[in-house]
Subunit: 412 residues, 2 copies
């Protein structure tokens, strides 16, 4: 009999950012004269850097010429890009990663969502709480999450590792043994990171317990502190227990260009089977390569000019982060993140829930942020702002927020 994947029906409501978009659209419709500043969704605002634009134009011309036209890309990515990645993101940081361990893709969201497919249906997953919703949602769809309890906001088979102000946003080793451990460092949404020593605890734990760490380093480019590793492969032992996801979205403004990659070390096995071969098979069967022109754009990110330009963009966003941190502190908010990450995580004032604060901010300051509870139950009572706006909008948003938070009201 024709049936659907019943797991899809277990997912409560729709995707967080769709919900926000609907609320904002409704507010804007009711108040067309108000100018809303969006510091909600983690989307960049600076244009693609000149060196990358130039590379794109060159690649487009190649595609328009019979002598240089390229059809299907190699399944796992062009060598020119895989080698630039290995050289700049790994060898330069002392990490032993080879070009044939890099799987180029259309972005970290796809990879983070798809990686669970190569694992068994009964694997237990552990996630930081709060965290990027794709890890849990993709496992719900695959039937690994159990049942949802609306009262707690938790899934029965998911192991939650709370990251709150109380533990300094450092997840503690779980009491129940997980098989797959999702770590997002620097974390989305809290903007906090793990030091080398803190991450080493997890690598050792995974190796000792036969678990795999699924390490999402999409915000790596924003790390500023010396003791925060840029890759999990900086940690000894990671090659036998960790997969790493990277993205060009936040590093170089590729949210609308789509490029990312996954590292699956050849040493990483499960019951004698190399995960590298499984992921290669998935890639080869259900994906047909990232566009040539976008892979050339990715290569340009690593050119001398490209590096300088994307680093300047990141510096702009981090200046915004500084402005937000300072503005919120002046408004007596309790704030976290924003140092190794473009995300600022704040405690909602006066005991408001995350969504109450969302509504309060939208209505009183016309500023859009993201309710912390949308990222997991321990996100309740927190709120995320992003540093991806323009400098001007960021400053204006802070001005508005200082004003409305300076004269707080009570909420039921």
């Amino acid at each position: 009999m024709l049936t659907i994947n019943e797991n899809y029906l277990k997912l409560p409501g729709s995707y967080l950012f769709s919900d926000i978009a609907k609320k904002v659209a409704a507010y804007q419709k009711a108040h067309p004269e108000r100018e809303i500043i969006r510091l909600g969704i983690g989307d960049v605002t600076q244009p693609i850097a000149p060196a990358i634009v130039e590379a794109l134009h060159r690649a487009v011309d190649e595609m328009g010429d019979a002598g240089t036209f390229r059809g299907y890309a190699p399944d796992l990515g062009y060598d020119f890009l895989r080698e630039a990645i290995v050289e700049n993101d790994y060898r330069a940081w002392g990490c032993a990663v080879e070009a044939d361990e890099i799987f180029v893709s259309d972005g970290a969201k796809s990879d983070c969502g798809n990686i669970q497919e190569i694992f068994g249906p009964d694997c237990r997953i552990a996630v930081c709480d709060p965290v990027y919703p794709v890890y849990v949602d993709s496992n719900v769809m695959a039937g690994r999450a159990g049942t949802y309890d609306p009262a707690t906001g938790k899934w029965s088979r998911v192991i939650y590792m709370p990251c709150t102000a109380e533990n300094g946003f450092v997840p503690e080793l779980p009491k129940e043994r997980p098989d797959l451990i999702y770590l997002c460092v620097p974390n989305n949404p809290t903007g906090t990171a793990l030091t080398r020593d803190q991450l080493a605890v997890w690598v050792n734990y995974a190796n000792e317990n036969g678990a795999v760490i699924l390490y999402d380093a999409a915000y790596e480019a924003y790390i500023t502190e010396q003791d925060v590793p840029h890759s999990i492969y900086e940690i000894s032992g990671a090659r036998t227990c960790a997969v790493e996801f990277r993205s060009f979205s936040k590093k170089a403004g590729f949210t609308g260009l789509r490029l990312g990659f996954t590292v699956v070390p050849r040493d990483l096995t499960c019951g004698g089977t190399a995960l590298h071969g499984l992921w290669a098979r998935r890639h080869g069967t259900k994906f047909n390569g990232a566009p040539y022109i976008v892979q050339r754009a990715g290569e340009a990110v690593y050119s001398a000019e490209g590096k300088r330009q994307v680093e300047a963009q990141v510096a702009c966003y981090m200046e915004n982060a500084r402005v937000i941190l300072q503005g919120l502190k002046e408004a007596d908010c309790t704030v976290f993140g924003g140092v190794n990450s473009p995300y600022i995580w704040l405690k909602t004032p006066e005991g408001m829930t995350s969504w109450q604060f969302f509504d309060f901010l939208l209505e009183n300051a016309n500023v859009v942020g993201t309710p912390g509870s949308g990222f997991g139950p321990s996100g309740e009572g927190y709120f995320r702002l992003t540093a991806f706006g323009t400098a001007e909008n960021t400053a204006r948003a802070m001005e508005r927020m200082r004003k409305v938070l300076g004269r707080p009201k009570s909420f039921s």
Copy 2:
């Protein structure tokens, strides 16, 4: 305990085209002086058309300008592209499809591979035999295929619908009732199509039996005969039983640009649940949109200039198809396809197996084709050639083939 998805291990060997690539590489290494002509993999050779190149350049410039930069694309595709698609691919053909039923993606391979996720784990699938391997492989990975019998080349839970010279390559209604029916029309690899009346039989069957047709129309642009429908939605009743996949790869040479789309009509339900919502949820959770610049390129395919240019490209390939058909007939081969499709399907001469003929052709004519058996057990004894080469290479390949097939040898 950490486990892998054991279904992956059931997949015999690796992906067909990887096997071919390895054989060809080994032969080229042993005979570096020989010039190999590739009529194997279905990849285009003509460059991206000028109107599309222009659109790409314009979009790249937009991405490099703060005033026109675009970040994340809408999950399901930009309206400008969805509307161009609806107007040109559906309304112009009298099909009732709305823009919000179009899901833009990075290509039909991803969509064909991913669509099975929204269905239940026990659904029985039916496939034409031979056919594009992704349908079966993606269901093997999901555990729906049962066990593989190397003796027959069949999976125990897959319903095979042989398409051979004996039945004119028209699949017969299966004896066992399938839940999901994959139809590829025009068919890859046989190059044959179904008439409106033949397709109506399937639409009626699916509606009467509560099955869903997964209709892959990736080669629609090559249809030349009047009674072959371009879309399944030309058939009355298809909106309640069919999902359609389309691709820009073969229509406009986008194999290296990556763009496709899936149509999920809102009328298509299973047990009261609309498949539209399930697919939207999958897209929103595990995909982040096709690149803006590539969607603008897709839009340009529907401009007056773009249409003229891509139709001229398709006409060139179809002229190659004519040359191949004629050349093979002159060499006394039995040939099919090539009229509504860029694929020519031939019976291997002298009772050779598909792989024997592959080796024979590689070694004696230095021409690469695709063994029919790679597409399913009923493909044994057949061979696929593609019309995607250059006109010059196609003519030279035919010359070589006429020579070696003109003086046939015997094979054990």
